[in-house]
Symmetry: C2
Subunit: 417 residues, 2 copies
């Protein structure tokens, strides 16, 4: 039995009362702590005994074979050989200048707007705390990357679900909510290869979203961890998120250089930089300078390395997404509506036959030896149809194993035939 971050429990929807407690009137813990939900939802649901030979299609995990591990070991050795070993000393809260400059150049923004984080989720948590007053409303994707709802508990935030369709967030639906009087202080969305539903928000919709944010004075939390892993289709304009003082753009090296680094960044509007740095300096001072120095050395000592790494990774992830889609259709013809995404790690197939019990299918699949996240775990509202989907991660599983996973999934489906 395993349990790691990517399979951990999302929150249930927080209550609107930030002082709500699960410990009764005698609970003397701070309101912040009482507002943190106990593990439940997909964490618990997937905490069942797994077959020893289970194929796990659970998390957004990069394949270690396409991480530049040898080059990272060499870069680390070099930074540890620098006289005075600055990589082992204190650094600035904002991050290592060399790394911030590399990121700023890639993002096309002034370096003063870059704050290094301990990964994308850390960026989200800082953005939430810097923007959302306790009990405030935040518009969110529906379906959603469920860990965002956990992070939102840091501000006892109340999620306002906005539908996500084949092309990402439904801007018309958002506009209607705003016209109805909704006054969110923030909006959370994943613009590229939406997690879980895999659509990409078109450039025109991005511009409308930013305009709405500016008109209604909310802050867009644009969370884009899969951006660099596009293997098909045309990139949509990402710079739009860097051009407004109503967008905090969140990114990370997690999907490209490895989750274990815990290294990401924020592109902040200037009006937020001082507050975020002040908050961050009171939490953990700064991101490991050992990690920052090693990655800065890795990226700057060989200018082509990052793009070469991405090129190999994209091809691998494309072959796996296509391979799994093909295998599903071969093993269970017509059972799923599958769209191969334009990037990232996931398929989001929909069960075509309404008679299939999706929860039973997940349990049967587990018994057959394949683990995935059921779509219901990604709902932030109701009526989104997420429960008819499966989220299948194929980034770190070989095509051969993906073929076997499809065979097992077909067997599980057959149990309901």
């Amino acid at each position: 039995m395993t349990s790691t971050l990517h399979t951990a429990a999302p929150s249930t929807t927080p209550t609107t009362d930030p002082t709500a407690s699960d410990g009764g009137d005698t609970d003397a813990r701070p309101a912040l702590i009482r507002g943190l939900s106990a593990p439940k939802g997909f964490g618990d649901a997937t905490l069942r005994e797994r077959r020893a030979d289970a194929i796990e299609l659970l998390g957004g995990i990069p394949d270690p074979a396409v991480l530049p591990t040898r080059e990272l070991a060499e870069a680390t050795a070099r930074v540890l050989a620098v006289p005075g070993v600055p990589a082992l000393q204190y650094g600035r809260t904002e991050g290592l200048p060399l790394l911030r400059e590399w990121i700023a150049a890639r993002e096309g923004v002034d370096v003063g707007r870059i704050v290094i984080t301990n990964g994308g989720f850390h960026g989200l948590s800082l953005a939430i705390q810097a923007v959302v007053e306790r009990g405030g409303t935040v518009a969110v994707d529906d379906p959603i990357f469920p860990l965002f709802l956990r992070g939102l508990e840091l501000s006892a935030g109340v999620p306002l679900p906005v539908p996500v369709g084949a092309e990402g967030l439904d801007i018309d639906a958002l506009e209607a909510r705003l016209a109805d009087g909704a006054r969110p202080s923030g909006l959370y969305t994943v613009p590229d290869f939406h997690n879980p539903s895999q659509g990409t928000l078109p450039t025109a919709a991005r511009r409308r979203l930013v305009e709405l944010a500016e008109q209604h004075d909310f802050v867009v939390f644009a969370d884009n961890p899969y951006r660099e892993l596009r293997f098909a289709g045309e990139p949509q304009d990402d710079a739009v998120f860097n051009e407004s003082d109503h967008v905090i753009h969140i990114n990370t090296f997690t999907k490209t250089l490895g989750p274990g680094l815990r290294l990401g960044w924020l592109v902040l509007p200037e009006r937020f930089t001082r507050d975020v740095v002040a908050l961050r300096s009171r939490q953990d001072s700064h991101t490991s300078l050992f990690v920052q120095s090693a990655i800065a050395e890795l990226l700057t000592s060989d200018e082509g390395l990052f793009d070469r790494t991405l090129g190999v990774a994209r091809e691998l992830y494309r072959s796996r997404a296509e391979g799994l889609a093909t295998a599903l259709e071969r093993e269970a013809p017509g059972a799923f509506e599958v769209r191969v995404p334009d990037g990232g790690f996931f398929l989001w197939p929909r069960l075509v036959d309404d008679a299939v019990d999706a929860d039973r299918l997940a349990a049967d699949a587990s018994a057959e030896g394949v683990e995935y996240q059921r779509g219901s775990f990604f709902a932030s509202g109701t009526g989104n149809g997420a429960e008819r989907h499966l989220r299948l991660s194929c980034g770190d599983t070989s095509v051969e194993r993906l073929d076997e996973a499809a065979v097992r999934l077909a067997r599980a489906l057959a149990r309901q035939a």
Copy 2:
């Protein structure tokens, strides 16, 4: 001009109104953010132009010469060569089991009580947020490690100063405050080689402190980053802090293996582990597994390495503390009352002559080319006499340079003769 964490600004004392704003009624930022003080105090005061040849005795910085950098590079290369490269994947919020087990064995506690942090300050921030309700009272050292007061702003906490003497926290004074009706939810102290005043809390006083915490139901934040750097005197009982459910024991590899790692740990009473893990999982998920794996490999692949590293470091820091004390008496006989501490990086000399203007001395010393922290920056209350002291850090400065620093300081003193 340089500015890094260890020279950064402490907070001013937070107001008792957690909604107090520095931006007027139109400030729409969350109360958490409005409660974070702007940089002032010793950060600003030391942000003056320094001489290019300035000798900096400012921060609690280990000497890079006694960090095991070569061994760390080798350990890193080994963990990056492990098939599947688990060091670059997701991990558990609590930390890497191998590292937690090593620490638990050294602390003499169950591994379930260890949570890995991004350094000691991160441990403090988690403890504050897990224990202190917004606006709550926290008893604190006076003089104090001033960055704690900044961290306390995360809970809009109100500090209650308790005097610190030659043997650390004055337990009688604390008891008197409690008898007078003070009801703190937490108490902050540095028990070994107090920062800045260098005393060590005796075992009997530690036991009384823990008893008071249990009687009055507050939580001791025992912050002990210099514990392993004892070079004289007898160790006082540290295990007492691991035996009560009213103590959170905070430690770090910062002073022994390097601040840049950002790697520390909490020893938590069982009643707090779930809350701290829940909070931490919503902030940045977990400490870099790359860092944790490299350090776990470093510590466990050669069981004697850590203690050998400490042995060399202690001897170096002893020679520097003694060297600086000797040089001060040689260059400015009778000007300072100096006590060589039993461990750590600092001297805390007191100006004997009340006629010396301590602020002018610091400015003159800067002009002469020596930078240090003036004692007034460490006051959490009034009447503690801290303003008559200098905090001189000698951990990362050679004896030859310390001799020169004493010469320059004597010249600065002579300007007031």
